[in-house]
Amino acid sequence: MRVGVLFSGGKDSCLALQKSMSFHDVVCLISLISESPESYMFHVPNIEVTRRQAEAMGLPIVQRRTKGMKEEELEDLKKAIGKARADFDLQGIVTGAVKSVYQSTRVQRICKLLGLWCFDPLWLKDEIELLNEVVQRRYEVIISGVFAFPLDREFLGRKLDLDMIRKLERLKLEYGLSPAGEGGELETTVTDAPFFKRRLEILDHDVSYKDYSGVFRIKEVRLMDK
């Protein structure tokens, strides 16, 4: 089956992408670039980097800008998926949804409307299991956004590794924090994975942070041979 992957550039959409490669032909990525930092549906930090990630994987990407207003962005998502279906003859859509009934419901409805199969291969996956799988599969992942107490500036730009997973697990026990950020507590950006033909090297970035809310914004990257 020819499938497109809803792609935010973070660990979940990359892992969903890699799992779907074992069963289907991934023919394109689809990204919504939200102008709202409080988007209901779409990962925000470094979404502009998705085009470079697509280049690194050797996959085409369909991008569409959205104002990020609650239901308007769904109309934009429907248009982006519709365009991808037409341009790449898609039969199915893959998402990295893990826990969000809100997100999953909206994508399922759009797929039903457009006659597409819908796959959520990470659905209800244990969050620590998910983080461990990302590390075991040798993804290079940085934390690119923090949006909850007690995640402070120190987390921004840090690599996701076994030490970080242990730290996040402790924060789950102490504060009830979702360790994989499924409640929007943190966002990640993937700079390399086994299915990347080239890796991303971050050349320039800035950090904005205030009161347990901050973003590691990638300003410039280059693609490096592996």
């Binding site: 089956m1 074992s22 009934v101 419901t105 409805r109 797929c111 039903k112 006659g115 199969w117 209800l124």
Partner: protein
């Protein structure tokens, strides 16, 4: 041992519709084995104390073209829980009609007859459903969501089913089904 029946025609759907049910059973420290309905054998069926037939994705109706592969269900005397597609299979085996009815998302379910799966009168559940089951004389309705009958019990056999996905918002429905006189590991 609980037999989990996978009805997904696409391997990628296993992670979404079968693995979450396996995880609930594992966390409850129960033994289970998962088999695809096309590769089930007599040994799997005879060793099972209970059976859960999982759901599949909304475009997948392959199981309806292979109803002869589920005939064994009518011949066993074991508790069976059908989830979404699994309930459609149970209904179809007993002559219920399947009607085109789409319901996607989180909706309120009202209990209309007391049952052993939940002590609540109403709760929210997650639906990914495109076919309703029109019960005939063999099935009774236990719960409804709007106009959709969504929880069923067979009148004479220990067969139960729901058209929503309890693994998402109501895992206790699965654990209650498993723990009724099941030995712990």
């Amino acid at each position: 041992m609980i037999l989990i029946v996978n009805v997904c025609s696409d391997g990628l759907s296993y992670f979404e519709f079968v693995k979450p049910v396996e995880d609930i059973i594992r966390k409850a420290r129960m033994n289970s084995v998962t088999r695809h309905f096309l590769s089930l054998n007599h040994r799997d069926i005879s060793q099972a104390e209970r059976v859960i037939i999982c759901g599949t994705t909304m475009k997948d109706f392959d199981y309806l073209d292979h109803m002869e592969k589920f005939k064994w269900i009518t011949e066993v005397d074991k508790p069976v829980l059908g989830i979404c597609a699994g309930m459609q299979i149970l209904g179809k085996l007993y002559g219920c009609s399947l009607l085109e009815r789409t319901k996607i998302g989180r909706y309120k379910v009202k209990i209309v007859r007391k049952n052993s799966f939940t002590s609540k009168d109403e709760f929210y559940s997650y639906f990914l459903n495109s076919k309703a089951v029109e019960p005939n004389g063999d099935f009774e309705t236990l719960g409804e969501s709007g106009k959709l009958r969504c929880i069923f019990e067979h009148k004479y056999k220990r067969f139960y089913g729901c058209l929503f996905h309890p693994e998402v918002l109501n895992p206790e429905i699965i654990t209650n089904f498993m723990q009724q006189s099941m030995p712990r590991v």
